[in-house]
Amino acid sequence: MNEILAATVRELANAGWHAFQAVNGAVPESQSLQPGWAPGPLLKSRERTKPPLGWPRETDSLCPRCVVETRTAIIRGERDLAELVNGRVGEIKATILEENGRVIMRKTCPVHGTFEDLLSIDAEFTRLLEARYPGRDFRTRGDERIHRHGTSSIRFGRGAVLTIDLTNRCNMMCNPCFMDANQVGYVHELTLDEVKQILDDSISFKPRRQMSVQFSGGEPTMSPHFLEACRYAKDLGYYSVQAATNGLRFALEPEFAFQAKEAGFDIAYFQFDGVTNEANRHRHISNLYDAKLMAIENMTKAGIDITPVTTVVNTVNNAQVGPLLDFVIDNCENLGGISFQPVSFTGRDEDISDADRHRQRYTLSHLAHDLEKYFDGKIDPYRDWYPLGAVGGFTALADHLRGTEVQFGGLACSCHPNCGSSIFMVANRKTKTWAPVTQFFDVDQFMKDITVITDTARGQTLSVVQTALALLKNFDQRKAPSGLTLPEFIKILNRKSGGAMSRGKKPKLGDWKLMWVGGMWFQDLWTYDFRRTEMCVIPYATQEGEISFCAYNTGVGWRQIVENMHMVATTKEWFQQRGRHKIYAGDRPMELPSRSLPIVEAPAGAGAAAHSCACH
């Protein structure tokens, strides 16, 4: 009976939509709103630009050898930093092409020869991701002081996650480490005034961005300014305050979790490599998984949301992706999703042999197929995965509905479709029932409908009516998981959008929640594409301005340059003047506080994981 009613509602909504559009299409489009945060009127779909997509295509890339040589020379003072800013150091052309159903990047340096690497094992999957990309965000304006890194400068968009390294100190000694924490021989640590300046600068230009701030490191909770930095970011109005953390501090000091929450800390982007102590062995703490569970327990009690993050290396821990997602679903009352990060060969891994690199290379397409296999096809690579940038379409609608009075533009993760992909799932906290949203909701059609709504720009009331009709007609109750009704689905969507459909009033948490399963693939010297860095949504905010994540950590390697320019002491001096901190290493167990009952149980069949890192 309910299904008949739902089908009737769906057909009526469909008829209503078409009737509405018959009139709507006959009336000239209204002008888009221009909120104060935006550099111009909200973009219509035809005004959104796209980077060159499809293949074969040519792009600007880097020679993996020239770049390292130049960077080293700059750090040694043998070459001038201005060369990096004004020149095209190490840049070469690359071709992206399809061969045997795979997508590869091939490039030739006149000095160092030809380099080739894999971008996708499934050309059709990657083609679909690119086809679902709705287009770039605004071009930035008034940002000359912040984005001044030559060809590595960010040029588009408002960013999604502003990353700030508070310190390069860490309480673990992972091998490898993304930033070689504790081993570079110097300490780079921001003062609180520097953190404040960086946060102020970041909202000084247009589009004024509704970003998440992510404090990173090193281990950001080692910074004495972590709590104050959270508070300041929150006071400025940032959307959420996150930290890329290994969680040890929260495991060892429950009070710290409560204090962090009180100070404004919202989300732990939580290093999580596998679901047994064995799977975490490469971190050199023999009971690390126990510590992770304790951290989850303490953070959950304090009200901190947790998103586990796992770096995936082919032939090392790719078998863990399924069990990890299982773990997240089993604990969906505490965890908001999971971020898988296909390995990026950086830091000491820049010296990796070609054979190892080819063997360990893992891509977004690998992830899609591994999850499909593990869940027996319940997650469909071609139906369920969308580029991260697809969220930009939803943001366009939210910006349109929120009107002109808001101080910040909505969170827009409008990065290049090759940078990341994701699935949105619904899960029931109590029954653990779950399904990809695309199983019961026609996202492709809904995105087309959104485009009509934002392009015609009919004002708030008529836009809400159209949105409601679009939601009704694209929701198929027959395919939804048992117990999930349309009103419940609208509630969770509205909650996720910060109450955009109810004039900013955020609905209460129900049994169902929206979960995010992401694949975020950072570039390295072999896969580098300047078309990606210029529209980066994860800017690294530093004392030298905001730099694309990949330009900072992998490509040109601005990290080493900036840290050398602004180091505060050698490690030896630091320890003498400020005291040593405890580092957990040597394959020994760490002493954990006593606890009551575990809140999570490990699923069976856990394997090994390696190479992961809290910092993306």
Binding site: H225, L248, R249, E255, E262
Partner: protein, 396 residues
């Protein structure tokens, strides 16, 4: 206006009824077993509380909130600095030469957490008496506010056993004086999970019988007089204060006394320790603007300050209305019964939502009689403690 006075009276009456019905539900003082020591009281309330602000203090005439997380981090960082850099340990003494201010509370809790004895000497003590008092104390560390620092001369800074003087606030610093902010900065990098938890564990382990807080009570024949409470005694006194006051989540408690007395100190512990209240540390004499902005729910003040508040209310209260016709007379009678003029004036002076005043010391009977029916007066928070002179006990 006069023809509408009935309406005004009626509105006032209805408002008073409404105010009564909408007043927040009072909650009992912290339930459960007694924390037994001051340290456990502090640690418990830092871990569990229902308030956004632990302390309010005045900065450039405005109330500045100090949330629990920030207070606790400062206490831990200072304690780690004192422990690692100065070698302060259980049984050592620190002197806090200051007026009532949040930094003094931070110093107090940091020292107590390490098992040290925290000796407070008000910053207004004359310089000669102060030197004599400090010689008697023999502190390892002196915390001094700018006013206190002005009274410390070179001789004081060379006291035997004195390792460091820490200035609680800005101003010019003499040789060997370290700023509190610098100590907190260094303590910040020492503040790791392991050290913070070790500090908490040690603080919890301090026994109830250990000497904790000492207060300078003036001099007699040039000999300083002291009041001392152990960790356990101090908690008993705090619990006695809880027995007389009903905290409610979000309460603001206005602490005002010209001197940093033992009673004020206990009232501060009581307010912080209940986990519901925010203690607001007034300027030395308090001002009408402070009260207007803060709108406290409870006031703890010295008898002298209460007398001043009464005088302020009296001056603000409208003169007794002259009978001008039957309606005005009736209205006056009605108003006097429900909301006496003086009571209203006192409420206005105290910021309109105050539930009562607690004196730090027993009130003069005349003043107490004067306040009868004007405002709710609680029992004094600072009952007599054992007082002795330095020579009786061979120093503090």
């Amino acid at each position: 206006m006069m023809p509408h006075i009935e309406w005004l009276v009626l509105i006032g009456y209805l408002e008073s009824l409404f105010a009564e019905s909408s007043s927040r539900k009072l909650e009992p003082p912290p339930a459960g077993p007694s924390p037994e020591t001051l340290n456990r009281l502090y640690l418990n309330c830092m871990r569990e509380h229902e308030r956004k602000t632990a302390l309010f203090s005045l900065r450039e005439g405005r109330w500045e909130p100090l949330p629990d997380w920030r207070l606790d981090r400062r206490v831990i960082r200072l304690a780690l600095y004192l422990q690692e850099r100065i070698g302060l340990s259980a049984g050592d003494r620190v002197a806090v030469v200051s007026e009532l201010r949040p930094e003094a509370a931070v110093a107090d809790f940091a020292a107590l957490g390490l098992g040290a004895v925290s000796v407070v000497v008000d910053a207004d003590v004359p310089a000669n008496n102060l030197v004599a008092a400090l010689i008697d104390v023999g502190p390892k560390v002196i915390f001094a506010s700018p006013a206190g620092l002005d009274r410390l001369d070179g001789g004081t800074l060379r006291l035997p056993g004195l390792e460091q003087v820490i200035a609680l606030d800005g101003g010019e610093l003499g040789e060997g004086v370290v700023r509190l902010e610098a100590a907190l900065e260094l303590g910040g990098t020492l503040d790791t999970a392991e050290r913070a938890q070790a500090f908490r564990a040690n603080a919890r382990g301090v026994e109830p019988g250990r000497a904790a807080i000492v207060h300078y009570e003036g001099s007699e024949n040039r000999e300083p007089r002291w009041q001392e409470l152990s960790q356990g005694e101090a908690v008993q006194r705090v619990e006695a204060i809880w027995g007389t006051q009903q905290p409610s989540a979000g309460d603001r408690v206005y602490l005002i006394a010209p001197e940093f007395s033992l009673a004020v100190r206990l009232a501060l512990y009581a307010s912080l320790g209940d986990g519901y209240s925010s203690a607001a540390l007034a300027s030395s004499l308090g001002t009408a603007a402070e009260l207007t902005e803060l709108r406290p729910h409870r006031v703890i003040a010295s008898p002298g300050i209460i007398a001043q508040l009464v005088r302020r209310a009296r001056a603000a209260a409208p003169p007794p209305a002259r009978p001008g016709g039957w309606r005005a007379r009736a209205a006056l009678l009605f108003r006097q019964r429900k909301e006496p003029m003086m009571q209203q004036a006192m409420r206005d002076v105290l910021g309109s939502q105050v539930r009562g005043i607690s004196p730090t010391e027993p009130l003069d009977p005349a003043l107490a009689a004067n306040l009868q029916g004007v405002t709710l007066i609680g029992p004094p928070v600072g009952r007599t403690a054992h007082v002795w002179t330095g020579s009786e006990r061979g120093g503090v």
